[in-house]
């Protein structure tokens, strides 16, 4: 139980975010209006994705040093969770864009960068499923995973800042500066980032444990 404190923290923070995110005052801004509250839900998806993908890279590197099926499973399930968070992020961003920018999708560098990065990770899943040999699959997808992360992060966070962009935090602006100035929003935004990130790690852990159980059962049957 002592090892699970962070899951309890995640539950508490997420419930707090759901309540405070809707009730606490936010700045009155034209066009954004109440949709500014999406910041507490859309942006933490990307934070969660980034951290859980970073964990996936960590497991992949460890796998390449000491190849065990467990590390491969953890890398794979973390990457899958990250991809899920990323797609939720894209979907929420698209809805938000429709009602503030007027279109489901714009050819904005930030949006297209994120879409390309998600495709790179989609290819990771395709690559994994194309091997029959387990060790080959684990090794090659670990290597691909590291390169995918190294390619995706500039697409998310660096390239969009080098050009003009509608998206806040891109086009040379320091991220979230517009909203972060408001201390009321910080009160919800930071807990939201921590809560959703912990949830991503929780989901990845649950998925890994199911796969590990499957592996153990399989090994038992063979023995």
């Amino acid at each position: 139980m002592k090892k699970n404190w962070w899951k309890a923290l995640s539950v508490v923070l997420l419930l707090y975010v759901a309540v405070a995110g809707l009730l606490l005052p936010v700045p009155r801004l034209a066009i954004l209006n109440e949709t500014i509250r999406n910041l507490y839900f859309h942006v933490p998806m990307w934070f969660g994705m980034t951290f859980v993908l970073l964990a996936s890279v960590y497991y992949s590197v460890r796998y390449l040093r000491t190849p065990t099926p467990e590390l491969d499973i953890r890398a794979h399930e973390s990457a899958r969770t990250g991809i899920l968070m990323g797609f939720v992020g894209l979907a929420t961003g698209s809805i938000w864009a429709k009602y503030t920018w007027g279109a489901w999708w714009t050819n904005d560098p930030k949006l297209n960068g994120a879409a390309i990065a998600m495709l790179i990770y989609g290819a990771y899943l395709v690559l994994r499923s194309s091997f029959t040999d387990e060790q080959q699959r684990a090794r090659i997808s670990a290597i691909y995973n590291i390169f995918a992360f190294a390619t995706a992060m500039p697409l998310f966070y660096i390239l969009p800042r080098l050009t003009d962009s509608l998206h806040p935090g891109a086009g040379g602006n320091p991220a979230f500066a517009k909203y972060d100035l408001d201390s009321n929003m910080r009160l919800v935004f930071y807990p939201a980032v921590i809560g959703w990130t912990l949830l991503a790690f929780w989901l990845a852990q649950l998925a890994s444990r199911v796969s590990l159980l499957k592996l153990r059962l399989y090994e038992k049957q063979l023995a």
Partner: protein, 79 residues
């Protein structure tokens, strides 16, 4: 008559300079960005918050029980 009007001109200008900004402040609510103030005033927002909180709590409870089931299974497989 014309002279007195001319004398009044700076007074009127000063008066306008003082009153116009006040008028703008008074008119502010109309020009401020629209927010869901009515939803908040009627208190119906709390209904929405309660529903979202219950849904989220349900989902998180499901996760917790799934976590526990997995822990039990892991112990079983270890034995």
């Amino acid at each position: 008559m014309k002279n007195s009007l001319r004398k009044l001109r700076p007074v009127v200008t000063l008066l306008l300079a003082l009153v116009l900004p006040v008028l703008e402040v008074v008119a502010q609510p109309a020009t401020q960005p629209e927010m869901a103030d009515a939803l908040r005033q009627s208190g119906k927002i709390y209904v929405v918050v309660a529903v979202i909180a219950v849904v989220l709590a349900g989902l998180l409870f499901f996760l917790v029980s799934l976590d526990r089931k997995l822990t039990r299974l892991e112990k079983e497989v270890k034995e």
